[in-house]
Amino acid sequence: MSTVVLLTITGLGLAALYFLVASGLSLIFGLMGVLNFAHGAFLTIGAYGTWWASDHLPGAGSTGWGFVLAVVFGVAVGTAVAALIELALIRPLYERHIEQVLVTVGLSLALVALVRATWGADPHPFPRPEWTQRTTSVLGANVPNDRFLLIGSAVVVLVAVLAFLRFTRFGLIIRAGVENRSMVTALGIDVRRAFTLVFAIGGAFAALAGALGGIYLGSISPGQGTSLLIFAFIVVVIGGMSSITGTAVAAVLVGLVQQFANYYAASGVGDLSVVLLLAAVLLARPSGLTARLA
């Protein structure tokens, strides 16, 4: 029983990471039709930004509020990089989706290489605040606290995104744009501003995932983002490509399947099951689980 509880909560923690990365990907894909390969790099940037700030930024540190400040810094850097990339490299290729995807491919290679060139290819130990290293007893299982941090963050992000999409004008524009972009512009709305916004939001979430992933794994390395990205892509497809709730459900599904199969079958089987899950979903319902945003 306690194993099942531990596996479930750990699976949900992993799902939280997937959700943070995949929600931005699906917003970007839904609105702009761009599969963003640079998203893994945003994650890496968030992780390294946090790690760097915890050592160098005045006031920041590896525990308590200092650590929060470090995370805020990492997320801010990830957000800024994402927004700048949209403005400088994606926007000029407006409506040219293949070129936009190619540019994000180039960025994913170049940005990760730049991080590697700057801080080396080897993993760096990541600051882990005291509290996250302790465990909490749940139904007889000793669950590391960082799982709760991951799950809590993802839930907050999920609620915030849904509220943003539902109650703000930008949210309205994004929902409408996912359905029919050109009609949104025909209503006199500059939909490109929404593009920059979803890139920035996606960058922020990915950077947050980078920081949380650092806590969860205890260390960071340049390639981390890219390997997470592939599973995030799978989550996006299973979730219906442009649906936030679909993405959340798919993230939970993928996280749990992966954890349980890796534990009960053999290490690696979980990863394979996830791919099989993807194939099954695509073949059964080519449009994924849900088809609409929000």
Binding site: R175, E179, S182, V184, T185, A186, L187, G188, L293
Partner: protein
């Protein structure tokens, strides 16, 4: 400065559109004068929709498209982005309505609120009381006629100078056709309309001027009654009898 010759509201000269390798508009020249209804006619596939989209910048075009609003300033629309063109006071109701099915009726209208214009929700709900009752319903669950109401409501919500309306009566039941025509006729008292329409009954009732497109070029333009009175010419240009209802 004479001030007696007012320039037309909209002028297109030598407009060409190429889409995925096909030369669709092949040098369109047309003017839409201020006030009243100008009908844009032509057979299926003649290029009517493409002409309207070219005005809005929804398809890439070459040539000149100019707009002279009530402030008298001549604006070049060609090469501008769609949202900038629309902000000059041009409303668009596309051929397939294109309401946002995943948004409620009220959200569809809120989205259509343009920043540089007052918003006339009262006027819209007075014209279409049904939309008020259904304001919280998803637009995708509305009937075709109701969706057309939403599409027209989006036009009338803002202060516009020119409405581009593409086949608003397509696929509607006769009763609804009459209702839509009625609403458009009322709107035409205040704003210029460029109306793409296959239903010649509606054209005869509303249109002051007519422009006929054929194979990507302007084949005829002049007063609408003159075209409608000439049965042979109508048949030749539109492929329909003037007495017919829907083409």
């Amino acid at each position: 400065m004479s001030g007696t010759v007012t320039p037309p509201l909209l002028r297109m000269s030598d407009v060409h559109v190429r889409l995925s390798g096909s030369h669709i508009l092949q040098g369109v020249d047309l003017t839409v004068r201020r006030g009243g209804v100008t009908a844009l006619l032509g057979r299926n596939g003649a290029g009517k929709t493409t002409t309207v989209k070219a005005v809005l910048g929804l398809v890439p075009s070459t040539g000149t498209i100019e707009f002279t609003g009530s402030d008298g300033r001549n604006q070049r629309l060609s090469g501008r982005r769609t949202h900038e063109i629309v902000r000059h006071g041009i409303g668009y109701a596309p051929e397939d309505r294109e309401v946002f099915g995943g948004l409620t009726v009220a959200e569809n209208l809120t989205l259509a609120e343009r920043r540089n214009s007052p918003h006339h929700h009262d006027r819209v709900y007075e014209l279409f009381p049904e939309l008020k009752q259904r304001s919280r319903q998803l637009a995708g669950t509305l009937s075709g006629g109701q969706q057309q109401m939403v599409a027209i409501a989006r036009l009338l919500l803002n202060d516009n100078q020119l409405l581009l309306i593409d086949e608003p009566t397509k696929g509607l039941a006769p009763l609804l056709v009459a209702e839509v025509a009625e609403v458009l006729a009322r709107a035409a008292e205040e704003v210029t309309i460029l109306l793409v329409e296959q239903n010649l009954t509606v054209v005869r009732r509303m249109a002051d001027d007519a422009i006929v497109v054929d194979q990507g070029r302007i084949a005829w333009s002049g007063p609408a009654p003159e075209l409608m009175a000439d049965a042979d010419r109508t048949r030749e240009l539109l492929g329909v009898a003037t007495t017919g209802g829907h083409a």
